[in-house]
């Protein structure tokens, strides 16, 4: 009796898993399929699933277009610089939170947590005048500074949590031996905290790579646009070259997908401990 009930349960769960996989994965399959088809066949009915007209033409068109290459270079450059700067600033801040007791610590900590809840769109209008005032409108710096603001609160909370788990003896031994704080932090603590740094770095990269609203508003010329804005620009310029838009979407999603697959373990552990339990 019990064995039979278990057998049913197993079938139900497997069916549910497959339905779920269809819901999550079908649109992605559809995107990849459409990127390989010639444009007129994309809307063919009944739909074409696999075809001998599959080709890499759309990818070739995207990758030989200098403007679209520029979008990718911009996105890579901005995302990587944001990762570097966010990590440096966050390491300093979390060292302070993790290893010192000082007046206002709890207030500043609460302040940083609440910054996470400030809706970026409310900052948009005054932010625009500040960026113009700083004379960095339509430059990489406008986007780098902005993305640092978005990623820092999470990065600090997460890294503070991580450093709290590292024994204090580790870096205090350096101070007792007459070493400086700089050595204790950068030579001892930072190398030990690499798993935490990887997780924060990935989150930072993903956020910077994917951001749309500020990339749209704070840049004006095509040579400063990033991939998300560029994909949407394609929509207008190419009069619905669906296969090229899908190819660009696949190419634009690969870096984040690759990062996710390689660092899944770090990432899930980091994300859940940082944003949910911090």
């Amino acid at each position: 009796m019990v064995g039979r009930k278990k057998w049913y349960a197993k079938v139900v769960i497997i069916i549910a898993l497959v339905i779920g996989a269809f819901f999550a994965g079908f649109p992605v399959l559809w995107m990849v399929r459409s990127s390989f088809l010639p444009n007129p066949q994309i809307f063919a009915l009944p739909p074409i699933w696999i075809s001998d007209t599959f080709s890499l033409d759309a990818y070739r068109a995207v990758l030989t277009n200098p403007m679209q290459i520029r979008f990718f270079l911009n996105s890579y450059l901005i995302a990587m610089l944001v990762v570097v700067f966010t990590l440096i600033v966050a390491i300093l801040a979390s060292y302070s939170f993790s290893r010192f007791n000082f007046k206002g610590k709890s207030f500043i900590n609460t302040f940083i947590i609440s910054v996470q809840a400030v809706p970026p769109i409310t900052l948009l209008i005054p932010y625009m005048s500040l960026i113009l005032f700083l004379r960095i409108f339509n430059t990489y710096w406008a986007l780098i500074l902005t993305y640092m603001l978005f990623t820092l609160p999470y990065a600090i909370l997460m890294l503070t949590g991580y450093m709290n788990t590292l024994p204090k003896d580790l870096d205090e031994a350096v101070l007792i031996d007459g070493g400086s704080r700089r050595v204790a932090l950068w030579r001892i603590l930072v190398p030990t905290a690499i798993p935490g740094l990887v997780s924060v770095g990935m989150y930072t990269f993903m956020l910077s790579w994917n951001e749309y609203l500020f990339a749209l508003v704070l840049t004006r010329t095509n040579d400063m646009r990033t991939v998300p804005v560029g994909i949407n620009l394609l929509m207008g310029q190419h009069a619905f070259e669906w296969n090229q838009m899908m190819a660009m979407s696949v190419l634009g999603s690969l870096p984040v997908l690759a990062l996710f697959l390689f660092f899944q373990r770090y990432f899930i552990a980091g994300m859940t401990s940082g944003s949910v339990k911090s």
Binding site: L17, I108, I113, V115, L152, M206, W242, S249, G252
Partner: protein, 299 residues
Amino acid sequence: MKARAKQIDVFNRKSTPYLYLFPTLLLMLTLIVMPIIMVIGYSFFDNVIVIDSPEFVGLANYISLFQDSTFWVSIRNTAFFVGFSVLFHLILGMTFAMLLNTRYLGNLGKAVFRVIYVLPWVFTASVIAILWRLMLSPSGVLNYLLESFGLIAAQVEWLSNRQFALMSVTFVNIWAGYPFFMISILAGLQGISSDLYEASAIDGANAVQQFFRITIPQLKPILISLIMLDFVWTTQQFALIWMLTGGGPINATEMLSTFIYKQGFTRNQFAMASASAVVILLICTAAAIFYVKVQKARD
């Protein structure tokens, strides 16, 4: 001499933690706190940014905002969008996390399904928007599938029909956002001690009772944080709506975020846009206060 050196030493030791925090605080004060003060200020003036010496108008912007019917439509749409997004993110996230946690699946199977389930989450808003515009177009694959299963009689214009647009946009956002819930809940599920389930099984509890008496109470802190974060994120969602429908047809999918953007950047009414931005800020601040309290209660 010695006393003075000691004083400097004490000062150094006291200022060190603040020095480490200096870059963070400098950035946040100039680029977050200052804009917040500025946006609140803007909302009380007329013609800000466009002319050099705007005139103080008190609450006039708020009064004309509250008399604008599009504003109320966008509030209603935002409430629908946020309410159903958060609800279904929770339901789907919970369902998929429980499915992935099943003992009927080997480790490899779990890993494969986890990657598939997480997929929607790695895509940026413009990719999601373009992909779903392709799938939801009248001659697209979704209509084909629904028609061949006999669920619809004629092609539906999911995104350009006023009746369906808000529903479709919400659906796409649900698809795009549940993996965050799923991953966090999955981590939470794995943290629940199996002793609890074994003990309740001995007491004769069935699976449904276990779910409501053990799983939900154990996950409660995680769930509250997730709901708060998702509420704030979804309230300000701009990119997806902007690229799916642009707030249209007419204003069927106008949200607070697209409303602000249009007022500011297509109509140059920055003062009015600031007043609506302050409304979003107030809504999210209320959520944030609650969120911080929950966080602190758990520390």
